[in-house]
């Protein structure tokens, strides 16, 4: 009986609390801190080139095998990233690749509205991954 009374007052109190849900396209909320969105390739701010050297560790540690990396030898004899491909239809946003990257060349962006009509569009190439990811937490 006491529990019922307690429940009743919780229910009554809920009338004066703010709703927790929003109606998606009309109302927006701030994306929670450190939430994981699509992968982003970092750029070197001085040379504006990709930091990644194409070592391929991320594709090795990826549990879903959704990252495809190819490297080539650059003009100065160092390894340069040639192809970086991410299959978002497979990605589970575990963040393993970010953690294992020695160069700290990739990070998880806050971009998460990733729905597409065509599966082919979910295959992101290097150019698309370099695009500014909305690093700052944006609204929906």
């Amino acid at each position: 009986m006491l529990r019922l009374l307690k429940n009743f007052f919780i229910v009554l109190g809920n009338l004066f609390r703010k709703p927790r849900t929003v109606i998606y396209p009309r109302e927006k909320i701030i994306i929670p801190d450190s939430s994981r969105g699509a992968l982003h390739l970092k750029l070197d701010l001085d040379s504006l080139e990709v930091i990644c050297n194409g070592c391929g560790l991320c594709s090795v540690v990826c549990p879903q095998d959704c990252i495809e990396v190819k490297k080539r030898v650059g003009d100065n004899g160092r390894g340069v990233l040639d192809k970086f491909c991410l299959d978002l239809s497979k990605c589970i946003f575990c963040g393993n690749c970010v953690e294992f990257c020695k160069m700290d060349a990739i990070d998880m962006s806050y971009k998460y509205q990733l729905a597409e009509y065509n599966r082919k569009n979910l295959r992101l190439e290097k150019i698309e991954l370099i695009k500014p990811p909305g690093k700052i937490r944006s609204f929906w």
């Binding site: 429940n7 229910v11 809920n14 703010k18 709703p19 927790r20 849900t21 929003v22 109606i23």
Partner: protein, 311 residues
């Protein structure tokens, strides 16, 4: 003739407006209680939502049976005997209380017949169990009503209200009120106020051919809710008696919505009761004994006073 038509129009208007407001309050409150936004289909914060929902049902194919017609008829016929206010009653009679209860029971039985698809399922289905429980909840209600009738010495609802000009019956019959209210609440719980009706649990909007029938069923459930609250008001809370300077009709409306919101809150507090054994236990171990005790005490009081002149 014109006079009766005018009355029918007024009763119909009151019911429809009430239906709209209650549906709106129900949706809004249910959403707020569950900490969600609620319906905002229309621009004015969902004020047009009940209308839109009814259109949603109406636009579907409907395959109605004969019971749907009876449900519709009874849900409005139930108001022929019950006075909404002092003058707003279709047929003034001395036995309005038993007539109203008969209509109420009839409506429940017709709802049950509508919910069962075949004659076999009518007897053996889960719905029959629910209806039997629903009807067994009428036993404490009847005991409470008989106690009120003993006090007021009349079977007319109008005269029961008039007899409460000084004190409301809730002062003389607190136990009766509690049992009446709880059994009423559990009946409404079985019928489903804010959730999907228990009786019509099988019919879903996704299914074929339940457009118009569903609306009629929903209206009938609302009519049962209105009827129960009005009867509770009339029997225990002074009906349309003026409270100081407040007009009786306004007082009745305030009491009506207060009880309606209270029922909604209680409905959300308790959640869905799936165990019928629990309901049966509440009824037979608490409600019926308490209401019977209340009835015996009331009867004993009148016997001691009127027959033996002890009090």
């Amino acid at each position: 003739m014109l006079y009766i038509l005018k009355k029918i129009f007024y009763i119909f208007a009151v019911l429809v407006v009430n239906l709209y407001i209650c549906e709106y309050i129900g949706n809004k409150l249910a959403a707020r209680i569950e900490l969600r936004r609620g319906y905002r289909t229309t621009i004015i914060r969902g004020a047009g939502f009940p209308l839109i929902r009814s259109f949603k049902y109406l636009s579907r194919d409907s395959r109605i049976n004969i019971w749907t017609f009876f449900i519709f008829l009874l849900s409005f016929l139930i108001w022929s005997a019950v006075p909404i206010t002092a003058n707003l009653v279709l047929v003034e009679m001395d036995y309005s209380l038993p007539v109203a209860i008969t209509f109420y029971i009839g409506l429940i039985i017709v709802l049950f017949l509508n919910s069962s698809r075949t004659s076999y399922s009518a007897v053996f289905s889960e719905a029959s169990k629910k209806v039997l429980i629903l009807l067994s909840f009428l036993i404490p209600v009847l005991f409470s009503i008989i106690s009120i009738v003993l006090i007021s010495k009349t079977l007319s609802l109008k005269e029961i209200v008039n007899s409460q000009y000084q004190y409301w019956n809730i002062i003389f019959q607190p136990l009766g009120f509690i049992t009446f209210f709880i059994s009423l609440f559990l009946q409404l719980k079985l019928l489903g106020i804010s959730r999907k009706s228990y009786l019509s649990a099988e019919t879903d909007i996704g299914k074929e051919g339940i457009g118009l029938g569903k609306i009629v069923e929903k209206i009938s459930v609302y009519m049962i809710v209105f009827f129960s609250i009005i009867i509770l008001n009339i029997l225990y809370l002074g009906g349309w008696q003026n409270i100081y300077f407040i007009r009786g009709e306004i007082a009745l409306a305030v009491k009506f919505y207060f009880i309606f919101i209270l029922l909604l809150l209680m409905d959300k507090t308790i959640g869905r009761i799936d165990s019928y054994k629990l309901l049966v236990r509440i009824n037979w171990k608490f409600l019926i004994p308490v209401s019977l005790f209340n009835f015996i005490v009331t009867l004993g009081f009148f016997v001691a006073r009127d027959v033996y002149s002890l009090i």
